[in-house]
């Protein structure tokens, strides 16, 4: 027995669910509809139409690009969940999943019960599904795709299918239709030899498979066994040494398994189950995939040392598990002679250790961000996730530094005396000290990001402009000071614009 599901795969787009929607793709230079939802179907829009024709019929048709890769991926994920019903499960692209349920359907209440369960499960996640059961995979696929549901008599239903269900090439299908053979039953009624002579041997094979006269095995998808290792104890263990030894043996077992599969762990989760039901979870992460037990053990030591409340075995642990949720390909390789690989590994090891001890957000790599607002120009990314050096733009030669080494966040208010209202500062008071301005350069005018504000395009609503001055005081200290708002922007009617210390130059 086989069961087949056909899904109309659609993606989440920003449109109301009940609006007509079509997915389009470029076919021979024209945008054609590849899939439509039921609302669009009701309006007479069908796959295969050009987008221009469909738009002419219904200008308010919502359109999104077909993403075949995402659909394939989604189909595979759905198929992986179907393994719950049968281990022999495979995808039938573009929109089907085939399950070989022979001998297993009674566990779910027979064919009908299994079909109902599958339908419920897919409806629950918002998928439309058509389920059909037939003697062969091809028969089930054809019924699910082309037959009117529900199916009362499998044999009759198969014979009533259009010749399109044979899944032959367009030319052969057209030739069958031209010969007056509209349904599978018509084709099956003809002598096999003449069909094979006129439409090729594959037409006969397809027909036999559809009618259940010939079996074709399916290739089930395989799922790697999760990397989950555990030790159970008849008597709870509380001794530090026993726990450590058990953990070490778990790590060795994990390393052996990973080596067989050419994998390295990126995330290790240790769970300690106490005999009174309490459970303690410890997780570490590494920047590079690893199966080196010593370095993983050291990271766990760091993690345990950094715990706010220490591990308390109480009356002992009765179960210890190690789970590796994130793994990556790690092929054993010969070390390069220049020692670069060794350096990379040593640096990754240091980053792992410091990130585990201090927390991943404490050790950062600075990456440029596309913004002209100074405090948003850089992004601090956790070094454990950002392995490669990030390129930064080079400053232009011959110029003094125009951006400060340190930035205050938030900027610190300063009292400024300027000679003219919109002019540069003359002297200023910062951190209770008075500074005389000796040299200055500016203003460098940085406008606010008015396009990010609601209604920011209206005059006076876009936020205040900043006028930055590079300043050196009498003692040679270099500052970056800005005036928040121009005089004509009237930031504060009583006081005029405020000044802020934003950064320090070397």
């Amino acid at each position: 027995m086989r069961l087949e599901e056909t899904d109309q795969l659609s993606r989440t787009i920003a449109a109301p669910l009940d609006a007509p929607l079509a997915l389009v793709a470029k076919v021979r230079g024209a945008l054609r509809l590849r899939a439509v939802n039921t609302q669009a179907q009701a309006l007479g829009i069908a796959p295969g139409q050009t987008l221009a024709d469909a738009r002419a019929l219904h200008p308010d048709l919502q359109v999104a690009d077909m993403d075949e890769e995402a659909d394939r991926h989604w189909l595979k994920r759905l198929a992986e969940h179907c393994i719950a019903w049968s281990p022999l499960t495979t995808t039938a692209p573009p929109d089907g999943i085939t399950l070989d349920i022979t001998g297993g359907e009674h566990l779910f209440g027979g064919e009908a019960g299994l079909a109902a369960q599958a339908e419920d499960a897919f409806t629950a996640i918002g998928m439309t599904v058509r389920v059909a059961v037939a003697a062969t995979a091809q028969g089930a696929q054809a019924l699910a795709r082309h037959a009117p549901l529900p199916i009362r008599d499998e044999r009759e239903a198969l014979r009533a299918l259009p010749v399109l269900a044979l899944g032959l090439e367009d030319e052969a299908t057209l030739a069958l239709r031209r010969a007056g053979l509209k349904t599978i039953g018509d084709v099956a009624a003809r002598p096999a030899a003449s069909i094979a002579a006129r439409f090729g041997a594959e037409a006969m094979t397809a027909l036999r498979r559809l009618l259940g006269e010939e079996q074709a095995p399916i290739t089930p998808i395989t799922q790697p066994e999760p990397l989950h290792f555990e030790r159970r104890f008849a008597e709870p263990v509380a001794l530090q040494a026993s726990i450590a030894a058990c953990f070490l043996s778990l790590l060795h077992e994990a390393a052996r398994t990973m080596e067989e599969r050419d994998l390295g762990g990126r995330r290790f989760v240790l769970t300690l189950f106490r005999s009174d039901g309490a459970r303690r979870r410890l997780a570490i992460e590494t920047g590079l995939p690893t199966r080196d037990t010593a370095s993983v053990l050291r990271l766990f030591d760091e993690r345990i040392a950094a715990l706010a409340d220490p591990l308390d075995p109480g009356f002992g642990y009765d179960r210890i598990t190690l789970f590796l949720p994130v793994t990556e390909l790690l092929v054993a390789s010969q070390p390069a002679l220049d020692g670069n690989a060794q350096d990379t590994a040593a640096l990754a090891d240091l980053i792992d250790r410091l990130s585990t001890r201090l927390g991943p957000a404490s050790l950062c790599r600075l990456a440029p961000q596309d913004s002209h607002i100074p405090e948003q120009a850089q992004l601090a990314l956790p070094a454990i996730h950002e392995r490669m050096p990030v390129p930064w733009p080079q400053p232009s030669a011959g110029e003094p530094p125009i951006r400060p080494l340190f930035l205050f966040d938030p900027p610190q208010p300063v009292e400024v005396i300027a000679e003219v209202p919109d002019g540069p500062p003359h002297r200023f008071r910062w951190r209770r000290k008075l500074h005389e301005v000796r040299l200055y350069e500016g203003p460098e005018r940085i406008a606010s990001e008015w396009w990010r504000r609601k209604g920011g395009e209206a005059p006076g609503k876009g936020g205040l402009t900043r006028d930055y001055y590079r300043i050196e005081d009498a003692r040679g200290r270099r500052y970056w000071i800005f005036r928040h708002g121009l005089y004509e922007e009237k930031p504060d009617p009583r006081q005029g614009p405020r000044w802020y210390m934003h950064g320090l130059f070397a």
């Binding site: 640096l347 850089q378 350069e441 070397a506």
Partner: protein
């Protein structure tokens, strides 16, 4: 163990300034601890600029520089900016910035980092007196840097010098820069004092200007009051102590 007692001669990176390199015996040594004190807390950015410049001189291109700061330094001194780092000629893309809660964690992270030979240099920045950095801790840092050859630049703001195992100790203050046309501030300029040097002369002042394009320090053109020592052969026998009083700041 004998190399611990008498560490092998470390490779040096010259400043490119004759008098400075002669005093240091050829330049700043890699694989040693160098302390940089800000003269006043307002000179923190200048001291950092000098340190970043010294690090750029000591690091081979493509090597990672680890900059460890205490939470207090990040709060008082401001957020370290990759743009500003790059404006000084550094490669912030190859840099890592770590912010550490307290001094103990800072020193522990520094020792771990110094043992990693893949790093180009380690900059450790702290604010205020750090009781945890006693002679033992300092010696531990020195041993780690001697063994790996990774230089440690220990940047200290708002602190007064304490005995340590550092190779050199510097004091850095901001100095007026050579103005550009239009009264614009020029290149970063520092008043640098070599407070102490292990088995070498010390107590000299220089006014240095950081040339970003050449990635090196230059002696700043003099502007009146300051007369720095140009030749120091005459005081090379002076030993550890301060051979000359620091009369500039008094002037």
């Amino acid at each position: 163990m004998h190399d611990r007692a008498a560490p092998a001669e470390a490779p040096r990176r010259a400043f490119g300034i004759a008098s400075l390199d002669a005093t240091l015996g050829g330049g700043l040594a890699r694989g040693r601890v160098h302390e940089v004190y800000a003269a006043e807390s307002d000179d923190a950015a200048s001291a950092t600029g000098f340190t970043v410049g010294a690090a750029i001189g000591m690091v081979d291109p493509g090597r990672t520089v680890l900059w460890l700061r205490t939470l207090r330094a990040a709060r008082l001194g401001g957020v370290a900016q990759a743009n500003g780092w790059s404006e000084l000629g550094g490669a912030p893309g190859h840099g890592l910035v770590g912010v550490v809660g307290d001094a103990t964690a800072l020193l522990r992270a520094a020792v771990d980092a110094l043992r990693c030979t893949a790093l180009g240099a380690v900059i450790v920045e702290s604010w205020g007196t750090m009781r945890e950095l006693d002679l033992t801790a300092s010696r531990r840092l020195a041993l780690a840097t001697e063994q790996s050859g990774v230089p440690l630049l220990l940047l200290r703001h708002d602190a007064s010098p304490v005995p340590s195992a550092a190779q050199t100790r510097w004091q850095v203050a901001a100095a007026p820069s050579q103005a550009l046309p239009g009264h614009a501030p020029g290149r970063p300029t520092f008043d640098v004092t070599l407070l102490r040097q292990r088995s070498g002369p010390s107590g000299f002042d220089w006014r240095l200007e950081w040339d970003r394009d050449q990635r090196m320090f230059r002696e700043a053109p003099l502007s009146g009051v300051v007369v720095p020592f140009s030749a120091c052969g005459q005081v090379a026998t002076g030993g550890n102590g301060s051979a000359f009083p620091d009369d500039r700041r008094a002037a």
